[in-house]
Symmetry: C2
Subunit: 454 residues, 2 copies
């Protein structure tokens, strides 16, 4: 008979700290950057290593190819009659490097309880934590089956996940889906996400010539693609307020309910801690509830980079032949990426018909639940693991796979996130910390135990 | 007694073609990029090689240090009683490289009559042409002294030229200043510039954070420096018309006279040839006179590059911590760089007080003459050298040294330019061609002969 004991789980995972660190090192030192075509081989290598780790723990695992990068599927099936929890994580990472990185991004540095490396917190550290929790459950006779779905295209919008899962879903009956790729309100204050923003990113390109020209010789008559793109961007968003100016953009937005706003207010969110964690000087607003609404429950239009022209020292006075703006829109329930893209396209084409729009994969926003048996199981599990009751918030980021899994696995998706704001998702000097592993393993085991009782 | 014979000069320069090419190769293969601090040693090397060439031709030459990069001064003084022509050129070049370059920018490729390399036409080829003309004059007993002023900071706005020349001007009495750094209307149609645009360039920087942040986690609340800079730029210039929106910007502008417009119309300028030479698809206007006014006689506001955020493949959805826009304003008589910078600063600070403005050196616009003995001498000299009468136009580019020389050398400045629009000032695949040397040497000798008769 399985007995849920925090002391026992703590003792077990502490004994395995060196093995956890070694496996984390193996994973983070493979630069599995899905966005960068030059890392094609690393994606396969990362998938193979991850599958091997599941097998080493006594599970079955496969690297399943898609039209893009593979998915790793794994399973600890003790008895087909037991209920099944499917755990989703992703093993691809954001690009990394540049002067802000104080350490090599793809070498793991251990500094006390901290594990520095790109991918440490997003999402390799949490993935491994879930794997250890599943191993504990299996070794200790918890009547549950655990399956793993480890994607390698999350950071590029999961373009092949839906077609992959629609083929594989039938093999993976599941009672509950657990996602561990979300972030706490702050250190010491866990969160359960009751929603995710969606995403539609795109590049806007404008070509007006074929080569750099001397601005003295052509300036005034020549079109300047940087100037024209700046005008388009300024007409898409009010830079001061963040208000999106694309006609119709807000039409489908569902505002958070009173109950949700009450959860936000009670979450322990602090503007000062938020600014500190992300290194932000001034925000668009200093009101805590307004900040929470903006990052969790309102859509955005962001410019992520403008390519074209001169990037070196000084001012090279050339009119460039082309320019590209990298933009994204975060979307909230019930906006749709397809509709947002159509509205953007219509608006941009009206502003400047020569701008070409290349869309990346769109991600649907997700609206979860804050009530019911599974939501309560997540709350209880986190409270068990960390000794603190989590807040119901929303996640401002996007996980494309969530909406797909809800649809194809026909099971509710719950979030037990282990990352902290200061861990630096997508930021330089990303890290993860041992305390989140030590609390995360018992939290997940507790969740499994609750599902096992159903 | 000196006799001006085109046939004799042609024969002389053709005999020296290989020596011209070897010297041009020596100069262009030194990457004397004044804008890039990593080329510090190349600047000194280029100055030393250039001084050596003047000495090899029998002149005196010195590399004179300034607070920045040196000036090369040289002289062929036959008799102090003879009149003196001072020839200005510059030996520094624009940055070069990138996928648009079909050849190594700092290796000279000879393709028939063409010499491909960064700096071939701007301005090392014309500088060498003037040196050969001076050598011809000296070897053939023309009663003239020729002095050289070769700057190495033209491409960064001549920040030290004025202080250098105010120290050196007394040693360099001169009757005429000749500048060979301007461009023809088109191949086969020479031009004499009766004015230059001035220039004020600057970087606008905005820092809102200390590191990249995940746009899902901070987007909506975090300020986006790219978005804010795009709004500032859009409020500085109408991207479609090119009209500058900075209040007071046009106040001092003197419109071209009727006579000047008549010269423009008669210049042989062709919109199709202009587009072809610069590889431009569509212009802001298709009216030839309007194009000429825009590039020669009207001021501009250009964006040359926007640094910050993600530049790699795909869309990395980070909100960057800082962004920088590289901009310039071309100025026309009687605008002043100082005033333009003050107006820009006031406008930008009002739009966004957090934007920091770092100004580069300002260059005054120059208004020359189209009548009088020296203007006629330039017209006659070019007609002699190339068999075609030049048009009086203006130069849309800026040469900071011109206003300084007019003031400190107390002598009129005339322009005998040898570059063609398709040579690609500041553009990839820059080249110069032999035909411009073969016509340029007799043109300059003819100009010397005219000054000698005064």
């Amino acid at each position: 008979m399985f007995e849920l004991s925090k002391a026992a789980i703590h003792a077990w995972i502490r004994e395995r700290r060196a093995s956890y660190e070694a496996r984390l090192r193996t994973l983070v030192e493979i630069p599995s950057i899905s966005m960068d075509p030059s890392h094609h081989d690393d994606m396969q290598k990362c998938a193979a290593e991850a599958a091997r780790m599941i097998q080493e723990f006594g599970g079955t695992a496969e690297v399943r190819q898609t039209k893009g990068f593979p998915c790793v599927t794994g399973a600890f099936v003790s008895d087909p009659k037991f209920p099944t929890v499917t755990i989703y994580n992703h093993l691809d990472v954001q690009p990394a490097g540049g002067p802000e990185w104080q350490r090599e991004p793809f070498r793991m540095t251990i500094d006390g309880d901290r594990y520095y490396a790109r991918g440490a917190t997003d999402d390799k550290g949490p993935a491994l934590t879930a794997l250890y929790a599943a191993r504990y459950a299996r070794e200790n006779g918890l009547p549950i089956n655990v399956r793993f779905l480890w994607e390698l295209e999350e950071e590029i919008g999961s373009p092949n996940f839906e077609s992959f899962l629609s083929g594989a879903a039938a093999e993976v009956p599941t009672q509950s889906v657990l996602v561990s790729d979300t972030i706490w309100v702050k250190r010491g204050k866990p969160a359960v996400s009751a929603g995710l923003r969606g995403l539609q990113s795109a590049t806007l390109t404008l070509e007006t010539g074929s080569k750099d020209t001397h601005s003295g010789l052509t300036g005034g008559a020549a079109r300047n693609p940087l100037t024209e793109l700046a005008a388009v961007l300024a007409a898409c968003v009010d830079a001061k307020t963040g208000k999106v100016k694309i006609p119709g953009f807000y039409d489908a937005v569902i505002k958070p309910t009173k109950e949700e706003l009450a959860h936000f207010k009670a979450s322990g969110f602090s503007v000062a801690a938020f600014k500190q964690a992300h290194g932000l000087k001034k925000l668009r607003t200093n009101d805590a509830l307004d900040v929470m609404k903006r990052i969790w429950a309102e859509p955005t239009f962001e410019v992520h980079g403008i390519v074209g022209g001169y990037q070196g020292p000084g001012v090279k006075t050339a009119v460039p032949p082309r320019a590209e703006a990298k933009i994204s829109m975060r979307l909230v329930p019930n906006q749709s990426p397809k509709k947002a893209l159509a509205l953007l396209t219509k608006h941009v084409k009206k502003l400047n018909p020569d701008v070409k729009i290349h869309a990346e994969s769109g991600l649907e926003p997700y609206r979860g639940v804050t009530t019911g048996e599974l939501a309560q199981a997540a709350v209880d599990a986190i409270t068990f693991g960390f000794g603190t009751k989590p807040a119901f918030v929303r996640e401002g980021g996007s996980i494309g796979a969530v909406v797909t899994m809800r649809k194809l696995l026909k099971a509710p998706v719950m979030f037990i996130g282990l990352s902290l704001p200061e861990h630096g998702y997508h930021a330089p000097n990303e890290y993860f910390d041992w305390g989140q592993v030590e609390g995360g393993v018992p939290a997940m085991v507790a969740y499994f135990a609750k599902i096992a009782q159903r």
